[in-house]
């Protein structure tokens, strides 16, 4: 299987000014490692505020001007420089955003998807992309506010296939949908993956992610703390990190047991394991060891000093 996207030790920093002059640098993503293969759906699961969307923007090269990225991102084996991602986004790398407010409210759907191009070829491709998701020619003449919720979501997916996407980044594409509607959307993703695209599926919903994903990467406070094949989630003893296990126990079919506390904000003093405050297995050296590395463990990856220990709840 060809690897489409390979992220190694990616960090994203924001520069902020406090009261005008005091500058501080805020790490929002730290030491992220992730890979997506062709035909594969990789789910990135994390709570809101864990930096998931910034991961998407970082790959696309559209982070705000007061940020910078460290580490390496490879696309199809080659380094993804800002110039290259500017060249590829919208053509080979596509973003599927959350909802209708990602469309220009004052522009008709057609011109938005064709990006103002006058080429007949582009218009034909756009028509075909809309047709593929059951949207007729009249959709192109509509404004975003005239679309129903379901239509808007299909338009956003169609926007991805107006190019020839090899990597699709779906950032929370199913908010507020019931399980059935969400599964229908995810069915479209599976279809795109089967056609050979790699899909990075960013979500806070582990249960939903497991219905479609091949690989799951768990995000906590801007770090990937575990990467596991989706089938590992069928049995909690095969999971590696205490947070992933806590997520598993929080799922409705596994007892709905929530974890107490909240993840630390990026500006809180990072010292030791960031999960220490919520971890039931926390040891004294967990609080002292800075920058715990992500390492191979039982066929997956984990960032923990004592992975795989049985969690007592």
């Amino acid at each position: 299987m060809e690897t489409i996207l390979e992220i190694e030790h990616m960090s994203v920093f924001f520069t902020q000014y406090e009261r005008g002059i005091r500058r501080r640098i805020l790490p929002v993503i730290r030491d992220l490692t992730l890979s997506v293969g062709a035909g594969q759906i990789v789910a990135v699961v994390g709570a809101s505020g864990s930096g998931k969307s910034l991961l998407a923007h970082g790959i696309l090269g559209i982070l705000p001007y007061n940020s910078h990225v460290e580490g390496t991102i490879r696309y199809a084996g080659e380094l993804l420089t800002p110039e290259r991602s500017a060249e590829l986004r919208g053509r080979e790398i596509a973003l599927i955003p959350q909802g209708v407010n990602y469309l220009d409210p004052l522009m008709k759907i057609g011109p938005q998807l064709t990006k103002g191009s006058r080429e007949e070829k582009v218009h034909r491709r756009t028509r075909r992309a809309l047709e593929r998701y059951g949207l007729g020619r009249e959709t192109a003449e509509m404004y975003p506010f005239e679309l129903s919720g379901g239509m808007a979501r299909r338009v956003l997916i169609a926007s991805a296939v107006t190019g020839t996407p090899r990597l699709i980044i779906a950032d929370e594409p199913t908010p507020g949908l019931d399980a059935k509607a969400a599964e229908r959307i995810l069915g479209h993703f599976r279809e795109l993956a089967d056609e050979g695209a790699g899909i990075l599926f960013i979500t806070h919903d582990l249960e939903l992610a497991l219905t479609v994903a091949d690989q799951v990467a768990v995000f906590y406070a801007g770090e990937t703390i575990e990467a596991a094949p989706a089938e590992d989630f069928s049995d909690v003893s095969r999971l590696r990190h205490p947070f992933t296990k806590a997520l598993w126990h929080a799922m409705p079919e596994h007892g709905f047991n929530p974890i107490s506390g909240a993840q630390p904000y990026p500006d809180e003093k990072a010292h030791g394991c960031p999960f220490a405050g919520q971890c039931s297995e926390c040891m004294s050296d967990c609080r002292e060891t800075d920058r715990i590395p992500l390492r191979e463990f039982r066929g997956g990856m984990v960032r923990c000093l004592y992975p795989g220990e049985e969690t007592v709840l």
Binding site: R89, K115, Y143
Partner: protein, 330 residues
């Protein structure tokens, strides 16, 4: 269409109420004015040398002895019959005076309005795009400086530099001195209008540019701009196709709302440049206790400002697809 008519009808009723209110306030302010019309217009010395009968006739002419309520109701009754009265100072029907003065001001006002609107929009969009970098700091600094400068002071400054020192433009008036009315060319009028129009534009630009900048920044931080970038649209395309489009709606409102600022500013600017327009007539009427003329000018300018806002509302309805198509569907 029915919706649009209803909307316009409601607005017109509101306008009638507004004009009534404005005229009452103007009248009350005039009554409270400490200026005695006889002393101001006839003069202490001349009054002293007059017989009591003459003074009485003058008092009747200026209406100082008539009760205030009666004077106002008399004026209102005439206006409702289409008669705005006669100016006490110019001894001509108020409408004729306003017509002449407005014709004098219209070149000035329109030029300032168009220029400040267009330039303000361009500057505002530009600084919005370059937010935080030097073009932004430069233009924003300029705008803040101009916004905090009194218009009349700016007018005097320009007069000093361009008319007195450089001698590029005339010192004042709207036509050259000593030239027969039919010998005055359009070029002459233009030359006389440049400085006052420039003063009005410079102040107007700052306001519009600062407001447009805020809007542009909001637009550029929106989700749809992010998605446009993610789809590979170039920075130019993002600004021109999405940025300008979304900033155009608030720009319409701003542009028509600035009508009031231009008219308000013209009062001071015309005074400084001795430009015989509506603004100057308003000052003359106010200081000379010419009640019918002052009431006439306030009512007419209020109507113009109101019409500006009404046009903005109607244009908004035509330009925003959410209103246009939303109303069509009802």
């Amino acid at each position: 269409m029915k919706h649009r008519l209803q909307f316009t009808g409601k607005k017109l009723i509101r306008m009638a109420l507004l004009l009534l209110g404005v005229s009452i306030v103007t009248f009350l302010l005039m009554c409270a004015s400490p200026l005695d019309p006889l002393q101001t217009n006839v003069g202490q010395v001349a009054l002293g040398s007059m017989s009591p009968e003459q003074v009485e006739r003058l008092e009747a002419y200026w209406g100082t002895e008539t009760p205030a309520v009666q004077r106002y109701l008399g004026w209102l009754g005439d206006v409702l019959h289409g008669d705005m009265g006669t100016s006490l100072l110019y001894r001509q029907p108020v409408l004729t005076v306003i017509g002449q003065r407005l014709a004098g001001s219209v070149l000035l006002l329109t030029a300032a309005w168009v220029f400040s609107g267009v330039l303000g929009l361009i500057l505002g969009v530009t600084v919005g795009v370059f937010r935080g970098r030097w073009p932004d700091r430069l233009i924003r600094g300029y705008c803040l400086l101009i916004s905090s400068t009194p218009t009349f002071w700016l007018a005097i400054l320009l007069l000093l530099i361009f008319s007195v020192w450089l001698g590029w433009f005339p010192i004042g008036l709207s036509v050259p001195v000593g030239v027969a009315a039919d010998a005055v060319t359009f070029g002459d009028r233009l030359r006389h209008a440049v400085l006052p129009a420039l003063t009005l534009s410079i102040t107007g630009v700052a306001n519009i540019a600062l407001h447009t900048r805020e809007k542009m920044i909001d637009v550029l931080e929106s989700d749809y701009i992010l998605f446009a970038r993610a789809r590979g649209e170039s920075e130019a395309s993002v600004v021109l196709r999405h940025g300008l489009r979304n900033v155009s709606l608030p720009a319409i409102t701003l542009q028509f709302a600035s009508v009031s600022e231009i008219i308000g500013g013209s009062v001071l600017v015309e005074q400084v440049f001795s430009y015989p327009g509506l603004g100057q007539a308003a000052v003359t009427a106010g200081l000379g206790s010419d009640l019918p003329l002052l009431l006439g000018i306030t009512v007419v300018t209020s109507a113009i400002v109101f019409a500006g806002n009404l046009i903005a509302d109607l244009l908004y309805g035509a330009a925003d697809p959410r209103i246009r198509r939303g109303a069509a569907r009802e």
